[in-house]
Amino acid sequence: MQYKWTSRLIIGLTLTFLIGPFLIIVLAGLSAGEFMTFPPEGISLKWYLKVFTVDSFRASFALSMFLAVFGTIAALLLGVPAAYAISRYDIPFGETIKTIVAAPIIVPGIIVGLALLRYLVVPLNFTVTLALFLAHTALVLPYAVRVVSASLNNLRSDMEEAAVLLGCTRLGAFTRVVLPNIQGGVLAAFILGFVTSFNQVPVSLFLSGPGVRTLPIDMLSYMEITYDPSVAALSALLAFLSVIIVFVAEKFLGFSRYV
């Protein structure tokens, strides 16, 4: 009996800490007042609607979308072949390479951002957009390699040999036999990469320049000037977007198998 109550308490607390902030944000955005407060002063949808009229939000949303989609695609274009090479060929230091590729997950974003800025973007004079694109690709790459490696390891390599004996080239065997069997993993990597890139703050903070900002950075700077509930409303909308993406992915892919 006692265990039951303890475990219920722990589950209750966990849920409160996980979902509580989310609820607070949703409610704060519903406020009818001029400032972000909790509990909200009255109820209205005006801040949720205002979000869509702020020009800088629209521009930064577009940039964040661009980075999340194309940065992740670029990461997959690099990551899938890399994962394949590591799992199928006897690459010297394969495991080490895997660890190094995973570094951006381990190293704090601030350090990655500063390093990229100081030693890549400034000396080579990259544009802000290019710098952001490269950084997001690099940040998503480890997820791509990890998730795709996991599904490759579940795939027996003898079916590629079978394909070769039926007339395929090694590359043909990869596209005809390997890819169709790891597409769930690739899609999972895409979603994970997308969400990671979209929510990325520290690295983007260093690389964003005048007029070119990702959405989270834009929200930060908006808050520095205006403390109205629209940021809360926008946060809530973004959270809903993530939840929907993950929910759909789980429903159709069994997303949780891969992460």
């Binding site: 079916m159 394909a163 004996l165 039926l166 007339g167 395929c168 036999v177």
Partner: protein, 337 residues
């Protein structure tokens, strides 16, 4: 040498620095059905992979139809391989698995349809054409793997334990089917098995391997009736093998004098060749098993354990009985190796 279709010459195979097959020489004639027989780990799969081109030989040469294919890529050799692990494509239906190679060759749809349907029916899978491999039993997967290779009508077909997962009835059926296909198509086949009965029933010639070395190569008749080594004799059912020294037989437990002189280094008797109920020696029955037409005994003797068998119609002995027995020279087989 001249009539060899597939020829392995001084073939040496290794994984990294560990040599699995030191030196292999086999000549296979066109249209021949060869069985590669040997205990687990003796290098059967490795040899098949080398012939197929999935592994580069450490040294030596492989020729097919007079062409040196040692360095030829696997997808150019025109060799089929039925994998021990089936290696089916999980994302494709049975039909598409079987059609895979033909689709690569961009054959006309009608021809693909016809050939695939034909071979799926041959392996008794026509009714499962729309199933994915995961929805098929082990035996069905194995037959699909066979069909996928046969559809290609390869010059040489390698089969790595193609019947191991089938029940006794299906196994016999597929065995007959395989033999029929081989006679009809004239495909040169090499199949791996560690079932001696299967090798004897199917093969034109048997290659008996041990630790990557050929122990004996010959017709089923030769391997069954005239084994050249102790290993070969043991493999083909000579359960009682003793060293001969002068006029003594030497067993695991001790020696016994015999009435005949040594003609070879070893003498071997199948269980049925041991005379039970009469003979110069005595043994204690420690095991009895009824096997239909035969009754099998394990006898504890001064030589060690002896396995004997009598017709079920003869009088039966019980465990603990002391029975006279003999190892007649006439029913024994001398082994020189």
């Amino acid at each position: 040498m001249s009539d060899a279709y597939v020829s392995l010459q001084n073939l040496s195979l290794a994984y990294g620095s560990s040599i699995v097959v030191p030196e292999l020489n086999i000549d296979i004639r066109k249209g021949e059905l060869i069985a590669l027989l040997g205990p687990s780990g003796c290098g059967k799969t490795t040899t098949m992979r080398a012939i197929a081109g999935l592994m580069t030989p450490h040294s030596g040469k492989i020729t097919i139809d007079g062409v040196d294919v040692t360095r030829m890529p696997a997808n150019k050799r025109g060799i089929g391989l039925v994998f021990q692990s089936y290696a089916l494509f999980p994302h494709l239906t049975a039909f598409e698995n079987a059609a895979f190679g033909l689709r690569l060759q961009k054959r006309p749809a009608a021809e693909i349809e016809e050939r695939v349907t034909h071979w799926l029916a041959t392996v008794d899978l026509a009714h499962l054409a729309d199933r994915k491999p995961a929805e098929m039993s082990g035996g069905q997967q194995q037959r699909l793997s066979l069909a996928r290779s046969l559809v290609m009508e390869p010059k040489v077909l390698l089969l790595d334990e193609p019947l191991s997962n089938l029940d006794a009835r299906l196994r016999l059926e597929m065995r007959t089917e395989l033999q029929r296909v081989q006679r009809d198509t004239g495909i040169t086949m090499v199949f791996v098995t560690h079932d001696q009965a299967e090798a004897l029933a199917l093969a034109d010639r048997i290659v008996l391997m041990k630790d990557g070395v050929i122990e004996q190569l010959g017709t089923p008749d030769e391997l069954y009736n005239a084994p050249r080594t102790v290993f070969g004799a043991d493999f083909f059912g000579f359960e009682n093998i003793f060293e001969v020294a002068g006029r003594d037989l030497i067993g695991a437990k001790g020696k016994m004098p015999v009435a005949f002189g040594a003609t070879a280094r070893h003498m071997a008797w199948r269980p049925g060749a041991v005379s039970v109920g009469s003979g110069p020696w005595e043994g204690v029955v420690t095991g009895v098993a009824f096997a239909g037409e035969k009754r099998e005994y394990v006898l504890d003797t001064d030589l060690g354990q002896i396995k004997a068998a009598t017709d079920a119609s003869e009088p039966a002995y019980q465990i603990g009985d002391v029975v006279p027995f003999g190892l007649p020279e006439a029913t024994g087989f001398p082994i020189s190796g």
